[in-house]
Symmetry: none
Subunit: 211 residues, 4 copies
DNA sequence: CATGAATGAGATTTCATTCAT
DNA sequence: AATGAATGAAATCTCATTCAT
């Protein structure tokens, strides 16, 4: 007799017990998606790992994709927060970049499974994947543009630069963080930062690039 | 007297008709994998597009993964050839890099579906994906090392540089070639090459990076 | 933290409804295997007869072979119980043998389909088939040996005798119980028992076998 | 323009080459059916082992079952011949039985695959299986009846006796010839023959079976 | 809230057989 | 006589999702 539709999955469970169950499902999903990838991950396995019955899944999520999306959104939010924290108060853009990269590699090392999930998004929910990188690119642009105007870094199309930097982060992360299950070695970090800094540093007036 | 394997699909069909059918299947698979991604691509759709019966697929391939692998291998081979052609005879590594990038973007533009397939490989056949990038990295290293010794480019860990360059190519390709279905605009190409060249160019003796 | 097996069918359903469904499937399988034989029996037909959806089968059994095995095991257990009951308290081995044979023929007459299933086991799951006869043979030996020592029956290799008796039971069962769909006629039973008894009876001291 | 229907498989190939091919197929089929059983045996494997193309099979046989049937018929004929040879001229039925059993075990040892094929017949072509045992039973009866009238062996329903003997042969063959891949040990042979002889021997007038 | 039984659409794969050459 | 490409029906199995309790 209530006005609510039947079976509207619970986004924010009222009871504390519900909160816990929902979180258990999210954690299990993160693990399973990270290991098996979206298509091979089964709700059955997620609920088993969460220690709940199959049907319980649908109490909290409308379908399989919904958890996936939520996980990507979570990662995005948290990664942003981590980077914001790490770069807070840094005025110089090159220093900022260095701190940002460091925070990025640290974060994905600590959340390898989540990071694997983002990468899959391209083939699971293309919209989401675009949104993810587009919004990162926007943030980059918002930070890079002023830095160019202030001559902190070389002037160039900031979006192109953004994708260059993201590409570098992604591939180095893949190679050293995901493939080796260790964090990015300091040595590698210094090497790549040197490359990035040379690429970003403003070409000072008289300095010809090459003969 | 051997235990004799049971049924092995035809790799190189003896008759010309067989050759044609096999090729039709490869072409259809390329299209379907590119559009739907591996997991959502069905053998049914592949054979329908190829205009053959379902069973025919298994005359030429043991399973779905096998076509996929073959397509990735093909792309790898052909892309290599394209780049080799485009860079033949170029002695200077920065020029070489420019020609190589150009050829890369042109190639993936012309074979967008195949390129989408390579990207999926991470989630379909991890081994293959590793192999793909590891072997590219090796090629890079083989070319970069001598260039560093000859002071054509800045000395640094060549493998790190390789992954930086691949990351840049991948992300720019994703953003401008795959998302917009146009080729990479010249303007963007020039921007990214400028970045790459600044990053790779040797830091000449007296040139301080920044004040 | 375990790698967690993926989906294991329900062996002992917690709810009564589940119990019923599982049993319906077993019954249907018994009928279908008995009529069509393992290879020509389809899951589809089994579920149809059980009045459930195809997928339901896999809720309770991992695959076709699993039901088959369970049916053979069931028959073995129940047949044993029947014979034990029929022979309880019989001290003389020849009398015991007569009661055992009688129980055997009665049982397989009442469970003709199950008995047909055991016979197929040789070609479906050889291990199981061996297990089935080996364990019967062991039981035989355990009973025959003491009887020989007590001079109730002729001394001979008890395992050979076991297989002789099983062969006789099997072939008479095949000819009169399976081929004619009637039970073994009393007349036939008496004939075969007479043969068996002559074969098993101890050769009394002075009795020459033949002139 | 000829009157013959299209595609009547060749039963008795005119050319010598054809004869050879047909035989190669029969031999291959015997091996494959023996190892894999009828349902799991594929024409593909048969033709591969025979070293001919798939289509060639249908030049000589109308379908898969046909070869199977032919093999069973062959075995029947040859086994008969072997036994006839081994028992030629033996007047006493008990001696005859001994020689017959010996020949039987020797034959199935030498043709284990063929023997496995007969056993499968029950589930492949029931008619054929019945025919096989019915005709053996008839032969038995034809030999046993006169022996009973001549008081060489105990009087009883000869068909029952026939099935007892066949059951014994079958189970001993299964246990010692098929499971161990050796021939039936002499010791086992003597044991079973002693049992059979006691069972068949005429109960002499005054000899009470048991007290 | 939670459960677990049930569903059924759909996917992959196998293989005896046909047919054009 | 022989080949090998092609077929297509049918079978097994998976799994996201629904629903009654």
């Amino acid at each position: 007799m209530s006005t609510s539709e039947r079976k509207q999955p619970v986004l924010d469970p009222p009871t504390e017990r519900g909160q816990r169950t929902r979180q258990k499902l999210l954690d299990a999903a993160e693990a399973v998606f990270g290991e098996r990838f979206f298509e091979n991950a089964s709700i059955t396995e997620i609920t088993q790992r969460a220690g709940v019955a199959q049907g319980t899944f649908y109490v909290y999520f409308p379908d399989k994709k919904a958890v996936f999306v939520e996980l990507v959104r979570d990662l995005s939010r948290n990664l942003r927060r981590s980077i914001a924290l790490a770069t807070a108060g840094i005025a110089d853009r090159l220093e900022y970049e260095r701190a940002g990269f460091r925070a990025f590699f640290d974060y994905i090392y600590r959340h390898r499974n989540l990071y694997r999930i983002v990468r899959q998004a391209e083939f699971v929910e293309n919209e989401l994947y675009h949104w993810y990188y587009r919004s990162w690119a926007e943030s980059y642009v918002a930070g890079l543009q002023p830095a160019m105007e202030a001559n902190q870094i070389q002037r160039m199309d900031p979006e192109v630069l953004a994708y260059c930097l993201m590409g570098i982060g992604d591939f180095l992360g893949m190679r050293w963080v995901l493939w080796n299950e260790e964090g990015l070695p300091d040595r590698v970090f210094e090497e790549l930062m040197a490359f990035v800094e040379r690429g970003m540093a403003p070409v000072t007036a008289g300095a010809a690039r090459r003969q």
